[in-house]
């Protein structure tokens, strides 16, 4: 298997099983590699837009659809808790895990609590709309704000 794929899968395995992103050091230990080599691989994965890194530490901020930091999109699946990067990624966690999920979030305008759910591979019908503030061609100008 390509080394970068091994790194990516190691990251996703940890975050899918624990809800928390591993540190670069943890990935290195898991793959019996060095922090320097893992850091290079993670940079390549970032270039491919498969990861988003913290600007100062270069630790993992997003392994889409998962967020390594708390967000306003809390996802529960099979007794585990996750954070999604946005409402698209909240559904994305259900799609990636192939599990039923419940999403606790709120209206972007008024803050009223809202819930979403996916059951047996389909979204439970509920009122709500998604709005992207930024056109698709510019999403990666600042992936924290779309």
């Amino acid at each position: 298997m390509d080394f970068d794929v091994s790194v990516k899968l190691a990251i996703y395995h940890v975050i899918a099983n624990t809800g928390k992103a591993p540190s670069i050091a943890q990935v290195a230990a898991r793959l019996n590699s060095s922090v320097a080599i893992i850091r290079e691989a993670i940079q390549r994965l970032y270039t491919k837009r498969l990861l988003v890194l913290e600007p100062d530490t270069f630790e993992i901020r997003m392994a889409p659809p998962f967020s390594a930091v708390p967000t306003s999109f809390a996802v529960a699946a099979a007794g585990k808790s996750y954070f999604a990067n946005c409402v698209w990624d909240a559904y994305g966690i259900a799609a990636a895990l192939h599990l039923d999920v419940g999403v606790s979030t709120s209206c972007g305008c008024c803050g009223e609590p809202m819930t979403l759910a996916v059951r047996e591979g389909a979204p439970v019908q509920t009122p709500g709309l998604a709005h992207f503030a930024v056109p698709a061609a510019h999403w990666w100008d600042d992936i924290n704000y779309t």
Binding site: Y91, G108, C109, C110, P127, L129, H131, F132, A133
Partner: protein, 72 residues
């Protein structure tokens, strides 16, 4: 992107934040986007869709506006 209770709440948020009102995405469409992007994300073969593939996905879901063009 954010979730809103209704179109009225989207309008209000756009006015408050001085953001242009963009095309709205129904939750069924959003679920299909999530499946297209992430269904195989935890597998060895997974990759992010390329630009052509992205635009095909958007078009298939009825998202035809220039807002969904991936290339600048």
């Amino acid at each position: 992107m954010l979730l809103f209770r209704s179109e009225e709440h989207v309008e209000r948020w756009c006015q408050t934040h001085n953001v242009p009102r963009r095309p709205l995405v129904l939750l069924d469409q959003l679920w299909q986007l999530a499946v297209a992007w992430y269904a195989n994300r935890l597998t060895e073969e997974s990759r992010r869709p390329g630009p052509d593939e992205m635009e095909q996905i958007f078009a298939r879901l009825g998202l035809h506006d220039s807002f969904w063009q991936v290339r600048r």
